[in-house]
Each structure stands twice: as C-alpha cells, then as structure tokens.
Amino acid sequence: MSTSIFDIGAPGRGAAAQRPAPGDVSDLTPEALRRKPPRLPEVSELQAVRHYTNLSRRNFSIDNQFYPLGSCTMKYNPRGAHRIASLPGFAGRHPLAELAASQGFLACLHELQEVLKAATGMAAVSAAPMAGAQGEFAGIAMIRAYHDARGDTERREIIVPDAAHGTNPASAVMCGYAAREVPVGADGDVDFEALKAAVGEQTAGIMLTNPSTCGVFERRIADIADVVHDAGGLLYYDGANLNAILGTARPGDMGFDVLHVNLHKTFATPHGGGGPGAGPVGANERLAPYLPTPMAAKEDDTYRWVEPADAPDSIGRLSAFAGNAGILLRALAYARMLGRDGMRRVGEFATLNANYLMERLRQAGFELAYPERRASHEFVITFRQEAKEFGISAMDIAKRLLDHGIHAPPTYFPLLVPECFLIEPTETETKEELDAFVAALTQVLGEVRTDPERVKTAPHTLPSARLDDVKAARDLRLVHGAD
C-alpha cells in the first residue's frame, strides 16, 4: 500500500490555481447549507499529480505488458482514437445541444450504427447501452417487449448455457425472467439434447455467445436456432466474443434475433481499469422496433435523433442522455482505421494467435480443456492434474505468472472447467510475446513440481504479496480512516 492521499495533506492546503474566487451564497438559508466541510484530500497540485502518477505504476496494463485475459479482448487501444474523441468539438458538445450544433456528432453516431449493422448482419442498431451487460438487458427487454406486444405473456424463462458469463443470467433476471441453465458437453458445444429438453412454451429466448466462453465455435448453432425459434423463443447473441469471427461470420446469419457488441473488446476502446465500455444492440427486422432510444437517423443530408414519437415500441431510454458517446467515437475511429480488410484480419489473426498459443502449450505439456477442437480467439487449459498432484490451484499459478511480468488469464471461468485458465492473446500481440508466455508458463509449471511452495505463496515481486480476500470481506474497511 502506498500512503493514502488522505495522509499526505495538511489543513487548508490545496491546488490554488484550480480554485475560483468563491461566490456569494447569502441568498440561501443556513439550513440549506452544509455545516461541516466534507473530509476530502488537502494536497497541493504537485502532491496530487505525484500521488496518482505513482499509484498508476502499481498497475499492470496493456500498455505495459501482455494481458491475455480471456473473454476480455485486451488488445491495443489506439491512441489516435482517444485523441479524436478528445477533440474540443466532441468533448465539449453538450448532450442536449441543439440539432444545428450536433450534426458532426450525429453523423458519427449514424456511421457507427451502419458499421455495426454491416459487421453483425443486423437490420438496425442502437448504440445506447453503456456496456455489454446493459446491452444484454436491452436485448432481453426487447425480447420481452416483443412477446408482450403479441400477447404472448406466459414465457418465463431465458435459457443460458452453464458456460455463460455471469451477466447473462443476471440480465435475464433483471428483466423479470428466470435463467434456466443448460449444460455444455465435453466437446465444448451446448448439450443439444439437454437443450431440446429445456426448450418449450415457457421459453422466451436463449442467450449464447458464439464462439462460446469455452473458446470453441458452437457448431450446431443453426440447429439451436431452429429449436428455439420453433418453440416461439428468440435468440440473443452476447457479442463479447465477436472479435473471433469479425469479418468471417456474422451473428445475423446464424439466426440470432438480437445482440450486443462490446466496443471495449472488439472495437478496441480502452478498458480504463474497469470501464467505460459501450454495448450497442443490434436487431433483425422483427425486433428492430423495440431498440432502445436514442439513436441517430439520417434524412437527406441532415441527421436527427430518433425521438420517442418515432419509436413508439422502443423499450425506451437506458441512460440520462445518449449512452457512452465518447466511447462510440473511439470505436468509430478504430473501425475506420481497420476498414473492410482490417476487420476481417482482426478475426483471422486473433484466431491465428490463439491456435498457435494453444498448440505451443499443448506441446509444452499443458492440458487443454477441449483438445479436439480448434481454438476460437481464446481457449481453455486446465490445471486439474496439478491441483490433484501438488495441491496447487489455478489461482496459485496465476499469481506466479504475475512475477514474470505477464497478467494472468481469468481463472475459474468458464466455471464448468475445473482449475482453468481462459487464454485470449488477441491479434495485436506478436509471436515473440506468445513464445515468451509459453516460456513463462512452462517455467511456472516446472516450479510447481520442484518448488510448489514458491508458487503457492506467489506473487513475490509485486507491490503486495498475496492479498487476503476473505479478510477483505470479513473486516469490511471500505473507506479510509473509518476504522
């Protein structure tokens, strides 16, 4: 732990160049006013800059190291896209500015909607949702609105594979559905028989990501679509893994009715230590009327907002204004830099990197969760053998990997594979970086055999040794100085 910002201040200190002259508030009654100032930091400008500059250095990040976080698509975030979104005309535009002073932004929003339609094969796109999970919420709410509009109100379930990301069942529940899990088979595909058994008239829809979080392409997707559609359900595509198939296959062609795209994954907007992202939703003709507002529309050469009056069936707004507009601009800039060929290559090289890395790891003696399958843009390895033999967990290995200056892949996701890593190298990493990863992981594996204690007590070279999660949850210390 670095000294807290609260412990480096002094009463009355502050960044004076940032303070305007106070104004007169004598017209407000004393009861309306705060009695005691809040306890905020009291530091100079240099102290604040130094503190947060130094704190930043206690992070791993894409800009510092390989960060093969499965399902998260930690690829290079172009600085050029960041600069474009920061232009005064974009950064300074008020969300409620008049149309005459909004044509530049609306043109961008509209263009992004069009790009996403083309990339996903959907009929219409709304970029309103502010992350993948909100995109899921929107999509499921649209499914519900569709059924409700048809008077088909008794569908109570959304089906999700047990390999699904936690947001999928959570989003279904937020929309008032029960989430019904179906198992994934030993080959990584959904257990088709179990699925058929689960589908029925209570089925509102199914949520899938394809390729799945098992790192394989769901081969029977067309059959699944048929089964669900035949039962009157709809298909939701979780776009978290779109990077794998960008330019090669489109969810719209697979039979999905509605989907979201994580722009902070496939479209390379920075993850920011936990956000922001953006989760535009796309829909086929059937579900398009339900898309959330606002959206951009183009008429002749003028752009305008799609108002509630134009979208009477819309599930409505999901944010105060128009979603994470600045993220949409970054994604558009990235999309334009890629263009047609660039997009295809994203999927191709993400897949190449994953398959190469999987093959190298296989040869180095690691156990693949789905050894018979191609990797998509990611793949799963399991340390169940090491867990049994040496009492080492995937988490131990993850922590030890940090000592090699490599961010660890997610552990225990997908939950159904014991002691696993979900490894996603992304297309922007070099072969050399992948080789270095194999070397590091191989070294850790060797250590598991020769010095398991060293692995179990890792990390050894970071600002903190292994942190106690249990204590964190038991002795809740959520604000500074409260204890």
Binding site: S4, Q18, P22, V25, L28, T29, A32, R34, P38, E45, A48, T53, N59, N64, L69, N77, G80, G89, F90, A91, G92, A101, A118, M130, A131, A133, Q134, E136, A141, G166, A170, A172, G176, G247, T248, A249, P270, H271, G272, G274, G316, R317, A320, F321, G323, R336, M337, R340, Y356, H407, A408, P463, S464, A465, R466, L467, D468, A472, L478, V479
Partner: protein, 477 residues
C-alpha cells in the same frame, strides 16, 4: 494491417506449428453456410485520414459559451486530470481482478469511495455504475431489496414477477432519470409513481402524503431538483421515513460541497444517495462516458450493486486493497447478483478522484458558490430584458427557470445559431413550461459571456428583425 504485428514469416511459422495450411483452415469448424463475404464497410484509412475526417465533423459542433445544464455541466477541468487518466497504466488496465497487479486502481477506488462517502454524508460507496440515470434505477432496485418490510413474496429468480412494488418519485426529478429507472425496473414489477411539482416548482407535499398512505418501498427526491430548485428535503425525508419508506436522494456532487448532504437530512438522513459524477472533472462529451455513483449506509452494503474495494492485508501482514463482497456480483452469484453490471465507468472514477483531490473541500465549495453566484448574475441580466422573468421564486442552486414569454424551443434554436448554447427548452419535458428555458452558468462563464448572451437574447426577443449571427464569437468557450 493496422495494429496487427505479424510478418509473412511469422504467419508461416505459426501455421506450421499449428499444422494448418492457411488461416482459413482455422475456421473449419464454422459451417461454410455461415461464412460471410467481405463486410459492407469502406476500406481502411490511416490515422491521419481518420483524424482529418473526424476533426472536420468535430469542428461543426464546436460550442460557444454554454448556458445549458439540465443534468450535464460545463465545468473547468484541470489539465492534470486527464493527463493522469490518459496514462496507459490507468487507461488500458482491466477491472482489478488480480489485486496484486492492480494496487494502483484499487487504492484509487478506495480513495474515491472515501471521498464520495464524505461528500454525501454516507458510510459506504461503490466504485460506480454507468451514469446518474442508471444509478437511480439501481438505487430503486436496491431499496426494494433493502426494505424488507415491503419485500414481495416469492423469490425474484422464480420467474416473472406479478406482485407490484411501488416507489414514489417526489418533486421534480430529472425526467430522463425517471424514464430510465422505469424502463429498467419495470421487468421486476416495480412501479414508479410521481408526485409532480406544485406551483413553486417543488414537491407537492399533499400529493406526497397521499401516495404514502399505502407505504411504498422508497421515495426518490432530487436536490437541487431538475428545475434547479431546492426541495424541502427534510419534510420529504420525515414523511417517507414515517411511512416506512426508504429515501433515495439524487444529488449533484458539486452541490454537496455547499448544500446540506443527504446524510444530514432530517433525522436519519437519506438511505441511499445516487447521482451523476460528471461535474467532477468529466467532459460533456455528448452525454458520456460519465459515471453514476451510489452511496449508502453500512448495513445496506450487501445490497449495493457494482464493484467495491476493501482494505485488507497480504500474507506478510502488509495492508493492501482488493475487490470485496464479490458474492454480490454476477460473476460469482450469476442470476442472484444484486445487478448485472460488470464493466463500469472506472476511468471516469479515476478522473473524479484526481479532480476531487485537486479541489478539496474548499475548492469544491468555491466552485459551487461561484456557479451559484454566476447563475444569479445571469438571471439578473436576462430578466432585465422586457418579458423575461423567473418562473419560480424559491431558492435555486445553479440553474434557474426563465419564462421568455414565447415558445422557448425556437428561442434556444436561435441562440445556438447566434453562437451561444442558451439553455434547455422545458417544453420538451413539461408542456406547461413551453415558454421556459432552464439556464445554468458555471464558474466557466465570464461576465463577458453573460453580457453577450443577454445581448443575443435581447435581439432575439425584442428586435427579431436584426440577425443575431455570430455575435458571441468573442466570448469564451
């Protein structure tokens, strides 16, 4: 191939290692019928070309002096804020799941939680949700869960709900917030019922009492409300708590350096405080990314959605930070999580934390009081124009409703053409206020800006024959 580092040699070596002949082979598990042809998007452009094209668009929207608030505020952002946030270590990290490799972000969030708790007068804070509107939605869900007395029968995961839970919206709460909350909570059979505002522009207390007759799960109140006016929050809290409802306060964090914090309202204070963090160092940026914050009392912490960071120890006994109470979250609890939120607004939290550190309590208070005084000055200048008057007379914070004596929609349009972002035409929200503009002046608005705006408005209202074009171009931006 932008951003792809592979040389032809690399590709050959890699395919060889895999035992594939081509990259295309790697897609052989995708049924041929599902392969798509070239996407219908234009060819790629260089960074230079994209920058040129989008810069031209950005220029079209470059704003003049901004007198528009209505939920997003044009404050000065210290240069240090984004210089720090743009460091790769903050900008390109993921959610801090690997605590030991993420102490920077984790400590920063812990400091943020401390600051937000202090500002709101509450005990705990989360690490953000999407924005102010979705924060209200999450707060409503949270209040319903937390208010056991009103909890519906039947587990929420048992499928579609039928019994309805009521939440009362008291006074003038931002309509976009209410809409968003309604859209998000409706699937869980929660109904929002609004008191509306009375002739003073604030909560109709009689109507509130009536709606409390059958106790709702919670009462929502915004301070200052979306018309800039100060609500009688102590009365609202008293009434709500008397009825057994929890109180959800929506608050602009800048205002909290000046106004009584929700934690201090009436006796027990509000139970949940939420709002949008945009005023704390986040650019207007067409509405986002901003961040929503939620603070609450300690006993409700397990109902909070979103990430929470706790101070703990490492195996050497040294203090360190980690995400905590993850059992609330979707990645552990799945369908039973407090929310589906995963990616939140981390980088904006970073900005707000740096911002609050630079300003401190005294700086935030100075900004709040200056905004207030500047808006009063603005109101004074604009109401000096014949036919322009304050619509409500109660105390306001840094926004004010002006009746301009004619359709405000057209007036706003004309001020924009003249180079000023003149305010929000309230007819879009409330037909009865069609002649009203909601105006706001932050600390960034100079005397010259205000005078320029007055002259423009004067020309529009009094001398519509003279063109008002471009006259504000010398004002600050």
């Amino acid at each position: 191939m932008p951003f792809i580092p592979h040389t032809d040699q690399d590709v050959a070596t890699m395919l060889d290692a895999i035992g594939a002949r081509s990259i295309d082979d790697l897609f052989d598990e995708i049924p041929a019928s599902l392969r798509c042809g070239p996407l219908d998007v234009p060819p790629g452009e260089s960074e230079m070309e994209v920058t040129a094209a989008l810069t031209q668009r950005a220029r079209r929207d470059e704003p003049g002096p901004c007198f528009l608030g209505a939920g997003a505020y044009d404050h000065h952002i210290p240069a240090a804020v984004w210089d720090i946030c743009s460091r790769g270590e903050y900008m390109t990290a993921y959610t801090p799941y690997q605590a030991e490799a993420s102490q920077g972000t984790l400590q920063l969030i812990h400091e943020f939680q401390t600051m937000m708790a202090a500002l709101t007068g509450m005990e705990v804070s989360n690490a953000s949700v999407y924005d102010g509107a979705s924060a209200l939605a999450e707060s409503v869900l949270m209040a319903v869960r937390a208010n056991r007395r009103t909890r519906r029968r039947g587990a929420p995961s048992a499928g579609r709900e039928t019994a309805t839970t009521r939440v009362v919206v008291a006074g003038a709460v931002h309509p976009h917030y209410v809409d968003t909350a309604r859209n998000i909570v409706k699937g869980q059979c929660i109904r929002l019922e609004a008191t509306g505002f009375d002739a003073n522009g604030t909560v109709d207390l009689a109507r509130l009492e009536a709606l409390l007759a059958e106790p709702p799960a919670a009462v929502v109140v915004q301070q200052p409300n979306c018309l800039g006016l100060l609500e009688p929050v102590d009365e609202v809290v008293a009434a709500a708590h008397a009825s057994g409802a929890l109180v959800i306060a929506v608050a602009n964090p800048i205002s909290l350096a000046l106004l009584a914090p929700p934690g201090d309202w009436h006796e027990r204070g509000a139970d949940i405080v939420c709002g949008d963090g945009q005023p704390l160092g986040i650019p207007l940026s067409s509405g986002g990314p901003y961040f929503g914050y939620i603070c609450t009392r300690r006993d409700f912490v397990r109902q909070l959605p979103g990430r929470i960071v706790g101070l703990t120890e490492d195996t050497g006994g040294q203090p360190g930070y980690a995400l905590t109470l993850q059992a609330r979250e979707q990645h552990i609890r799945r369908g039973k999580a407090t929310s589906n939120i995963c990616t939140n607004q981390g980088l904006l939290v970073t900005a707000a934390t740096v911002y609050m550190s630079l300003l401190g309590a005294a700086g935030l208070n100075a900004i709040a009081s200056r905004c207030h005084a500047t808006t009063r000055k603005l109101v004074e200048e604009l109401t000096s124009i014949d036919g322009v008057q304050q619509r409500f007379t109660g105390p306001f914070f840094h926004e004010c409703v002006l009746d301009v004596g004619r359709d405000a929609e057209g007036v706003a349009e004309q001020t924009a053409t003249a180079g000023v972002t003149g305010g929000f035409p309230l007819g879009r929200w409330y037909p009865e206020l069609a002649n009203c503009l909601l105006v706001c002046a932050t600390e960034k608005r100079s005397e010259a800006d205000i005078v320029a705006y007055r002259d423009i408005l004067c020309r529009i209202l009094i001398h519509p024959e003279r063109p008002a074009n471009g006259s504000a171009s010398e004002g600050s931006r």
